[in-house]
Symmetry: C2
Subunit: 316 residues, 2 copies
């Protein structure tokens, strides 16, 4: 089978054997996969991951000890937890210290014809939800995680910093949940990508008017901006990860007694339910779909300034 | 009167007129004042403050529109809020955007024979509490702020990073409140400074065993250590402020979904009550007391490695 692999800051299409699922895993034929900024960071060296890239995908189960899943379209939680350690028992499998993470830590990813994933991680996608929408389950779950972690009040002023892929999806999910959202970015034309979800838009954030600021710029400077514009005693949610650090002075965090919460993977089942309901449709973010055989060009395209979601058709 | 003043990264003793209190202020004859790391950061350029240094003090009211206070020993909340703005009305006077802060922002401090402070900021010190203990009201209030902000569980493992002045006072207050505290530092001999308050001590923090890590090293690297040693989904409390930034990569904050809370000034009335009860006695931290006339030497002494609390006898 074909796989888009990363090794030593280089990517190329390789011919690999179809992976053999472990007893607790299913074999999935990938049908569609999405390129995420994390993939681009990995190619820069983030997490030191080498292997098949890709963690946003939808596919069809071909082999599984749970025979009811065979032939079903599924998406997968990307965190493959041991299920037995102290952290798993405390109810935090996403943080299992022994975990593999699909396409990010120790486990081959979804930019391939086939992938294996823990059967317990799979969520069946209803027929009403096409692949082009289901492929967003992972980033939508990450966006929903914010509402799982932080108690947001319906009447508070929430700012989403950054109108890239993640910022737009976060803005969609918050607007859909009824929050008063202001999206700050440099691409006002992207408002049309939000579909029916209504948000305010600003090209510059005013100082100290937001009680909650969600940092989704994909740029380390975003945290510096966030700590300037959030109100004292306010909250910052951090969503982006980078390979490189940056010069940061947390004095304003201390002086203004700000609360910062890191936010990563979220509830994939809730994401599938939301996407299937049609209330949130991130397929408006798709800019181009490449065949897997042109995966190197797809990553190059996703790295271009101004490009939103790039997909890989893994059947070609 | 004498005052220890900072201007353009230089400090010197100046002769100044006794300040005239505004209608809402009291005039206080300072009797004892403490040197804080913030004073040292100010001399490096922090906050751009120029004027009389000092914000930890105890003194006797000489003039006040509240005549019941005259002759009373008092300490003062250092934040002088307008009391009228949106932030004050939301119940956060410590974060009033128009505030002056004694010895830090726009208001002369306590390293002087006299100081003025808003009458509403004053807390009377009971006779049972000597000056050498009452002078710690401000840093003890800052330590108590942690328990005001963050819900700590009695059975959780709390790490205080740093066995300097602030770390020791935080460890004292948490141990006194019944928490299981591990103090991490390089001066095990300082355990004796904690008096009757029992804490564990370690010269190196083990990875990921603490649900809460309180960063009080006074060193920007402390935050980097804290994010390494806190458990996933754990909490970091940030207490130190610095003039300079540092290279920081918040990836672990995001990956491990850590919550960081900045913590600054706290409830001065609760600090006075605690100090008066005798349950916490930070006077064990005093290394040397200088007359105000030797204030320059006092600051130099406080800057020396290994020195804990330096006081200024402002009557001399």
């Amino acid at each position: 089978m074909k796989a888009l692999c990363h090794k030593n800051k280089k990517i190329c299409i390789e011919e690999k054997p179809v992976p053999a699922p472990k007893e607790t895993e299913s074999l999935i034929k990938v049908t569609l996969a999405g390129v995420c900024n994390t993939d681009i960071e990995i190619v820069k060296g983030y997490m030191g991951f080498e292997g098949t890239l890709g963690h946003e995908f939808v596919g069809v189960v071909e082999k599984s000890s749970d025979t009811s899943l065979i032939g079903k379209r599924v998406v997968s939680d990307i965190n493959c937890a041991c299920g037995e350690c102290e952290t798993c028992r405390r109810g935090h499998p996403h943080h299992c210290p022994h975990r593999e993470v699909i396409g990010i830590v120790k486990k081959d990813g979804a930019f391939a014809t086939y992938i294996t994933a823990p059967t317990k991680n799979l969520v069946v996608v209803p027929d009403t939800c096409p692949d082009q929408i289901a492929v967003f389950a992972e980033p939508v779950a990450a966006a929903l995680e914010i509402q799982e972690q932080v108690k947001l009040k319906q009447d508070e002023a929430i700012c989403v910093l950054g109108d890239g892929k993640l910022g737009l999806i976060i803005a969609m999910t918050l607007a859909n949940a009824g929050f008063d959202v202001t999206l700050v970015g440099h691409h006002p034309e992207r408002l049309s990508r939000l579909g029916q979800n209504m948000v305010n838009y600003a090209t510059q954030a005013l100082d100290q008017i937001f009680t909650t600021v969600i940092e989704a710029t994909g740029n380390p400077q975003g945290l510096i901006t966030a700590q300037k514009i959030v109100l004292p005693k306010g909250k910052i949610i951090l969503n982006s990860t980078y390979h490189e650090g940056f010069n940061f002075n947390p004095a304003l965090i201390v002086i203004n007694e700000i609360e910062i919460t890191g936010s990563r993977c979220g509830p994939i089942d809730k994401a599938v339910a939301l996407l299937s309901s049609g209330e949130v449709d991130p397929s408006t973010l798709i800019d181009k779909t490449y065949p897997l055989s042109e995966g190197v060009q797809a990553i190059a395209k996703a790295t271009e300034k101004g490009v939103l979601k790039v997909l890989l058709d893994t059947t070609q």
